[in-house]
């Protein structure tokens, strides 16, 4: 599994402040829920152009999103089977309807668009800047420790590949002792989960020590972000576009 991550670049999106990108992402994602066809087309075209400009290879992007695309296919077919209308094909007792497929395609398109915009955010923004943006945007909210939340987010992203590596190692060690001959998955699960959890918690302990050894404290370790004119212009354009959709 190759996670989608930050890529160095000089594109327009790379130059924007992470806080503004995050606000724009939230606004556009919410707008996608009920956007008309023309707005979806505009957003899709813009997202594709920005992805290319940001240096994301379409081939590798599709490869990295393959499981999500399978999920979209499942959503599309499920919608086609569960929506009443003109039946195109009959599968057992269920009919695949024209209206269902059309609705499923629109839902899939909306979800894909939200994911594409999220990918744009991730590949054009340093993870440290995303953390700083989350901490700064959550700071005014009472009862939410924005800095701690941002640190947790960063650590999760950093350690997902490490935990997956551990899982792979544990799984290989189990297979070397013929665990695959046990057909019952309920038997196999504890033998994978228990050593993996133990190793992950030990890892987490060492991580805490390592962070403390480098003077970690919740308020520190975050970049200071500064807004430029282009950030306000971009936000103004996005807010205008969302307002237009709301009025229409």
């Amino acid at each position: 599994m190759t996670p989608i991550g930050f890529r160095v670049g000089q594109s327009f999106l790379h130059s924007l402040d992470a806080r503004f990108k995050l606000i724009c992402l939230v606004l556009l994602s919410l707008s996608c829920v009920d956007a008309p066809f023309w707005a979806m087309a505009v957003l899709s075209a813009a997202a594709t152009i920005l992805l290319i400009q940001a240096g994301a290879g379409m081939g590798s992007l599709i490869r990295e999103l393959r499981y999500f695309l399978v999920l979209l296919l499942v959503v599309w077919i499920s919608r086609g089977l569960s929506t009443p209308g003109t039946t195109l094909v009959r599968l057992g007792g269920l009919g695949l309807t024209q209206e269902g497929l059309a609705e499923g395609a629109i839902i899939g398109w909306r979800l894909l668009l939200v994911v594409m915009m999220g990918v744009l955010m991730i590949i054009t923004t340093r993870p440290a800047h995303i953390r700083a943006a989350v901490a700064q945007l959550l700071a005014p909210l009472p009862g939410i420790a924005g800095h701690k939340l941002a640190t947790m987010m960063g650590l999760i992203v950093r350690f997902i590949p490490v935990i997956l590596d551990h899982a792979h190692l544990v799984s290989e060690a189990q297979q070397a002792r013929c665990v695959h001959l046990r057909r019952n998955p309920l038997y196999r699960i504890p033998y994978l989960v228990v050593p993996l959890m133990r190793r992950t918690f030990l890892h987490a302990d060492t991580l805490c020590d390592a962070m403390e050894a480098r003077c970690y404290h919740p308020q520190g370790g975050l970049d200071r972000l500064s807004a430029q004119t282009r950030d306000w212009v971009a936000l103004f354009c996005v807010v205008g576009f969302c307002a237009l959709l709301f009025i229409a």
Binding site: R126, R158, D209, A210, A213, R214, Y216
Partner: protein, 249 residues
């Protein structure tokens, strides 16, 4: 000048086990000290006391004349620690961000952070990998990144816990060269290991721990022939009756 002073240090773990028992030691600035002992002898526990990650039951540790317990942040800035498992020490999603983690915690200005990170990455030969994901680095590169992360905090003392474990030969050479280069800049280095072969040719002092106590302490030539009863294997050259030479040669 004494950079580290340990006075009657005693540490007991939560389960009641005695980790360190009456350790006394002083370390002069610029020393390259090897701390050796069998597994469970208390090496890592002792290192954690120098960095303020653990605090003693009795006794005290002074860094540059001031007790660690009085100002932990100062101690952590002056004494940098590189952990045995580099993967556990690397906390950020890019090489650059990981090296910047410490300087940012110190609340430095952005320009200072950039300066320190650039210098640290150049010093360990990772300048061209600043935007890579740490997960994709080799074992030796990860260890060098961990060293860079500590160097960026500009410590006076560098603690290294089993720096050569799980590394192939080129990885060991890279880390050893790096360690010696840092020592050349005048920093005090304490290397904790149960395998002294690779580093002993460069060390000024060898300390052997056993069951939480210092059992041997002195110049390597004097200590090497006596250390095997304490679970530390003597270098091959010594076993063959030859002089111990620097490992990189």
């Amino acid at each position: 000048m004494r950079i580290i002073e340990i006075e009657n240090l005693r540490h007991r773990f939560a389960d009641g086990t005695l980790g360190l028992d009456g350790v006394n030691m002083t370390i002069e600035t610029g020393t390259l000290l090897v701390l050796a002992g069998a597994n469970g002898s208390g090496k890592t526990t002792l290192l954690k006391h120098l960095n303020g990650l653990l605090f003693p039951e009795t006794g005290r540790v002074l860094v540059a004349g001031k007790p660690v317990a009085e100002d932990v942040m100062r101690a952590r800035q002056l004494v940098g620690m590189v952990f045995q498992d580099a993967d556990s020490q690397i906390v950020s999603e890019t090489v650059w961000d990981d090296v910047a983690f410490g300087p940012r915690n110190l609340g430095l200005e952005r320009a200072d952070v950039i300066g320190r990170v650039t210098a640290a990455l150049e010093s360990v030969g990772l300048a061209g990998m600043a935007d890579q994901r740490p997960h994709q680095l080799s074992g030796g590169e990860k260890r060098r990144l961990a060293i860079a992360g500590v160097l960026a905090m500009q410590p006076q003392v560098l603690l290294m816990d089993e720096p050569f474990s799980n590394l192939d030969h080129p990885g060991v050479c890279q880390v050893l060269q790096q360690l010696l280069a840092v020592h050349q800049t005048g920093k005090t280095i304490i290397v904790c290991t149960h395998d002294v072969e690779k580093i002993i040719g460069y060390a000024h002092r060898l300390v052997i721990l056993s069951s939480g106590r210092i059992v041997l302490d002195g110049e390597p030539e004097a200590i090497l022939p006596q250390m095997e009863p304490f679970g530390v294997r003597a270098p091959c050259a010594l076993r063959l009756g030859l002089p111990v030479t620097p490992w990189l040669n």
